[in-house]
Amino acid sequence: MLKVISVLGVAGTLLLSAPLLAEPTKENTLTIKGQFEFASLDPTRRGYVFQRMQVLETLVNVDSQGNLTPGLASKWEVSEDGKAWTFTLQPDVKFHDGSSLDAAAVVNSLNIARAKPGLMQGAPITGIEVLDPQRIQVNLANPYSPLGAIMANYSTAILAPKAFDADANVVSVIGTGPFTAYEIAMPHKLVVERFADYWGKKASIEYASYLTGHRAESRVLQVRSGEGDIVFGLDAASVPALRMLPQVNILRSDLPRVLSIKLNLAHPMLASKLSREALSLAINRQGIASAVLRSPESATAQLLPSYMSDWHIGDTSAEQDLKRAESLLLSEGWQKNSDGWMEKAGQPFELTLITYADRPELVTVATALQDQWKRIGVKLNVNVTNSSAIPSGHQDGSLEVALIARNYGTIADPLGVLIKDFGNSSGGDWGSMNWSKPAIQASLGQLVQQNDTAKYRQQAQQIAKAIYEDKPLIAIAHYVQHTAVQKEVEGFRFDPYERSYYLNEIKWNR
């Protein structure tokens, strides 16, 4: 028996070592740990990892203030009627397979992406064509100003013609970025290697690896052990302890992602503006921001952050006021019954909130809301499900209240997302629901054609104010991201639009 065991043991060890081959060494590889998986080679399907790791690039880039800057396109012009955008490509750009980037390759890649779900489907694009080897033209049915920002999104990343098979599936990730894909082990691991023929600033580090760490605990430990050179998505509770480590810098960055409550305004209890106001007043935003998100200053009652200044209005209050909340409900004819619940004509004020477990803080915040609304006599049932339950609940009308974390920075211009979310009276899957404000909605639609910046701002402010006052969505807090960077890594900067890790700017400081 012992012989059998030892033979099994030896065989096991041999088996183990077989497929685990040598790879870029610890010394020459920058290790990055993040919480998100990537499930496909196709950039239209959660392709952000390939964009962030700088394997793929887009025509347009975004700076940290949200301004559009040249990417694979050195410049772009919009025709006078706003219906044709001409992009001029950078000269001498090589794909990772050695072929040259030309207009035909770009048009091929964009047309394939356009047929798949992605932001381009929301734009009124009628055709994308080759003008000459260095220029392409995107034709629109009507003017659409967010197009430039869409061309900066990962779903419009440019792949080489050889990256696709005959059925337009992506079979290999051949881009133009400063790094080539060296090893792809979906859904956990991506190793990239420096690309010597990159057209822009060439990288100094040789290899970089991205590894998904699902548990916040593991990622924190990877910071401590020094195994992660850059670790994203740190659990806020662990940040104070990590700050005491001498070898690590902790960066705090604001994200254009907002924690908010989506309300179905067709629901009899949510139709009245005063009731919605009462629900908003009953929320202890400071408490949630400091206890759950660990950043008290991120509490807010409006959707868009201050650095998206056109859409941010000045005087809003995020204070909790239970007395006023209760009196608003009483003025609406609600009365507290003997159990302490609000009641009208024998009907209790009871709502069902759905949220999803993909982001662990949502569940915690949902239970906090349950408790806070209980204080004004509103009964909230919490149902934790999958993120897809929000759009499907919106479509079939079954959604009452939903707690969501919406990213208004998936494209640099929030207008595209806002039109999708608030642009019509039935609303958007991740936006308002049955909120009918024809004047506001028309003005939102017109903004895509507005070229005058002062008028744009004025209209944007009106819309932001209407959303804040009418509360089709109740904002709770903005997201803050904590990133740990080992001190031996020099030149790291955080992109609030989460498009790039800027690996080609990083140097070792050993």
């Binding site: 699902h214 605990e217 998936t410």
Partner: protein, 311 residues
């Protein structure tokens, strides 16, 4: 032996068909619109909306009814094609190979390690008894009561942070395997060392053991010649069951150590309603179950052939 293998082959086919059909029925009867679930898996939570769900529905023909989908899957299976993942679009075979092979390494390493701990410990506690036995019983109980997740964290803190011997998490080299294997091995050994102990006690109290000592064999000789083989049968059977449990995945260990095993992959596939992956995984696990069971039966027969022919 041939008869046994033939019987098991039939059983294998039955289990494979039954498991995959049942999985298909169960997955199809889950509440919620599949198209939305798949879209969430594919495009992520920021991009899932009705447009993407409608495109998924049209692309995958989810409207055509479950029966046709099942027939399609089954006829593909007969030609050896497990289909493509609905989420990633990659062949299921490749994804499964990646996950199952990693699960297999982890399971093997965990079980081997647990044997290395449990067998000497179980025999030693049976031999000496007394306070040593009671101490080990307490420790085993404590270890068993500790969730494997906590064991994993403790192991990381000791070996990765304090001693810095091994990496915290990841995969791709043997050193990455060590800590998850230790965490698993420890929690498995917590039970199996007691199984070994009980069997060893039985053997040591038996008349043939007593006789062997009386005839003048040294302690070591008695144990080696008359003990080990006798106590091995139930222990091998028990460890076989543990191994099967492990191959099917230890989700917590896998996600704590970022190990790309089948337990974690399957959980995600279920969230995303990635039916081909789920069916493929269930099929492979069914097959694996029968194979491992057969291997354990054969091992037990070799250890103790007294029961007659293998049936």
């Amino acid at each position: 032996m041939t008869q046994l293998l033939f019987k098991r082959l039939l059983q294998l086919l039955g289990v494979a068909w039954g498991v995959s059909t049942l999985t298909f029925l169960l997955m199809r009867s889950l509440p919620g619109d599949m198209a939305y679930r798949i879209a969430a898996g594919r495009y992520g939570m920021d991009a899932v909306d009705t447009t993407s769900a409608d495109l998924v529905r049209a692309e995958l023909g989810l409207d055509q009814g479950p029966f046709r989908a099942y027939l399609q899957w089954f006829s593909d299976l007969l030609t050896g094609n497990l289909g493509n993942s609905l989420v990633s679009g990659m062949p299921v075979v490749d994804e499964l190979w990646h996950m199952l092979s990693h699960s297999f390494y982890l399971a093997m390493a965990g079980v081997v390690l647990s044997m290395l701990i449990a067998v000497p410990l179980g025999v030693a506690t049976a031999w000496w008894g007394g306070w040593f036995d009671r101490l080990m019983l307490t420790l085993s109980t404590l270890m068993r009561a500790l969730p494997v997740f906590v064991t994993g964290l403790l192991v990381i803190i000791l070996f990765a942070l304090e001693l810095q011997w091994f990496p915290v998490a990841g995969f791709g080299s043997v050193s990455h395997l060590v800590l998850p294997a230790i965490a698993l091995g420890l929690s498995l050994a917590a039970v199996s060392n007691r199984v070994v102990h009980n069997e060893a006690r039985k053997v040591m109290q038996s008349p043939f053991f007593e006789f062997a000592r009386t005839k003048g064999l040294s302690n070591w000789q008695v144990l080696y010649r008359h003990g080990v083989r006798n106590l091995a049968v139930p222990v091998v059977a028990f460890m076989g069951i543990q191994l099967i449990m492990l191959v099917e995945g230890v989700v917590m260990i896998e996600s704590l150590f970022s190990w790309p095993g089948v337990g974690h992959g399957l959980a995600h596939a279920i969230f995303a309603r990635d039916i081909p992956v789920i069916q493929g995984a269930a099929l492979m696990m069914g097959i694996l179950f029968v194979l491992l069971n057969t291997a354990v039966d054969i091992a037990c027969y070799c250890l103790d052939p007294r029961g007659g022919r293998l049936q």
